[in-house]
């Protein structure tokens, strides 16, 4: 079985790198900071997409760039599971994402052990 490949979309580069280090044991990790970068990085080889709802750190609770990534991914790669995450308590956004086809919604700070089991489960 090929090694799973996941794409993580978040606007904080240090956070992307930390997640990359944490997940490197179980999968290959691509990273993107915006919708445009996500469009370029997403492919048939992607096993899972992990997206922060807010892609503009200066507008927490307002910017929902991650929702656009979710919509685009579901329109072009409907079979790839998408997990959304957010540091902001935004239940409305969480419900919207689940209605748009997201598989799960994670609240930051993320528990790495939980994330790893989720990745393993979703890429089976």
């Amino acid at each position: 079985m090929p090694r799973p490949r996941i794409l993580i979309v978040d606007d904080i580069m240090e956070y992307l790198h930390a997640l990359q280090r944490a997940l490197m044991d179980i999968c290959d990790v691509d990273i993107a900071q915006s919708l445009e970068e996500a469009k370029n990085a997403l492919s048939e080889n992607t096993s899972l997409l992990l997206v922060d709802i807010c892609l503009d750190e200066s507008k927490p609770g307002i910017d929902r760039g991650g929702v656009e990534v979710l919509k685009w991914a579901k329109a072009h790669y409907p079979k790839i599971p998408v997990v959304m995450m957010s540091a902001y308590r935004d239940f409305e956004a969480a419900v919207e994402c689940l209605n748009l086809g997201a598989t799960k919604f994670l609240k930051k700070p993320i528990d790495i052990a939980e994330l790893k089991s989720l990745v393993k489960e979703l890429v089976k």
């Binding site: 904080i12 240090e14 956070y15 790198h17 930390a18 997640l19 280090r21 944490a22 044991d25 807010c54 750190e57 200066s58 507008k59 927490p60 609770g61 540091a87 902001y88 930051k108 700070p109 993320i110 528990d111 790495i112 052990a113």
Partner: protein
């Protein structure tokens, strides 16, 4: 002696439908101010006719005036009308500021931008969360029109405004949410890396990558940046301390908790600062490993407590129109 200064909608058109001086206070369109005295002239209510024509003859140019220019104009006019009393009085200001510069104008007036340090400065107008202040102004103007100053108790008004939050409650909560989010994001990478290290038993190649990420004191820089987001300093930026002061919550226990978890001039509790420093040092693997054996390590505890304290502070911010207790 006490003076309450009410500055009506600053970008209204003189005599137009949005002119609060005329519509709310019953002033004449060409008037510049209205004044009422209370308690044998010991207290004064002064209503300044705010309208863009007072700041420039051209509406667009008036709208582009800087906060400093607006304050200078207000200060000149107020000094002209009240100069003899201002120096010997406690003064409170209620102002309906132009859109987009509300915070800046409030802060400037609070710091003496009108030539005196007010006892309170309150934003009025169509902002969410100031309905009670707007309602109070509406009640005052109604009583003045029908009964004159004798119908009002100035002391009660003064106390009401002294206790009202200076900026809309919803706005304070939103601003604190943004700061909390920024502070959290400074430490989230460290939070993830420590979990990853613990899970792999501080595996050497993992440690090398983490050291590389935090070399040159990057983790400590995150801490310094967090302090700048919490405490007021040289830089002109929003801070948690600023919000706490605006909400008059300087002695609130939740603010005390935030200060003890992230002190301004002292180290962090439980050696957390040392852990942050050691993350960027190649030869400190064993030291950090000893301190962070499991999920319940000092950094994890500190980070989650700080996050919770900021959440609690946000929740404790005053509700619409009421001061914090």
């Amino acid at each position: 002696m006490r003076i309450i200064i009410v500055i009506t909608r600053m970008m209204a058109s003189r005599g137009g439908g949005d002119d609060e001086f005329v519509k709310l206070w019953g002033g004449k369109p060409d008037g510049d101010y209205a004044i009422w005295s209370f308690n044998d002239g010991q207290d004064i209510l002064y209503v300044y006719h705010g309208c863009w024509q007072r700041f420039d003859n051209d509406w667009q140019r008036a709208e582009q005036k800087t906060v400093k220019e607006l304050c200078e104009q207000l200060s000149r006019d107020i000094q002209q009308d009240l100069g003899q009393y201002i120096g010997q009085s406690e003064v409170g200001v209620l102002v309906h500021p132009p859109m987009g510069i509300e915070q800046e104008l409030i802060q400037s007036i609070s710091k003496g931008g009108l030539g005196f340090k007010p006892s309170f400065v309150i934003a009025t107008g169509g902002h969410a969360g100031v309905e009670e202040v707007n309602q109070k102004l509406s009640d005052i103007s109604s009583v003045l029109r029908n009964q004159g100053p004798l119908g009002l108790n100035f002391g009660e008004l003064w106390n009401f405004f002294c206790k009202a939050p200076s900026t809309p409650a919803e706005d304070l909560k939103r601003r604190l949410s943004i700061l909390k989010h920024r502070i959290a994001h400074l430490f989230l990478p460290i939070y993830i890396d420590l979990q990853g290290l613990i899970e792999t038993g501080f595996r050497e190649d993992y440690w090398d990558e983490v050291v590389d990420a935090y070399k040159d004191g990057k983790a400590k820089q995150a801490l310094e940046e967090a302090r700048k987001l919490v405490y007021e300093g040289e830089e002109k930026r929003d801070t948690v301390e600023k919000i706490v002061k605006e909400a008059r919550m300087e002695s609130h226990p939740v603010w005390n908790q935030v200060q003890s978890l992230l002190p301004k001039n002292r180290g962090l509790p439980n050696d957390v600062e040392q852990i942050l420093q050691d993350l960027g040092c190649q030869n400190k693997r064993e030291v950090v490993k000893q301190k962070c054996r499991d999920r319940n390590n000092p950094f994890h505890q500190w980070f989650t407590e700080l996050d919770k304290a900021l959440d609690n502070l946000r929740e404790a911010l005053p509700k619409k129109g009421n001061a914090a207790t």
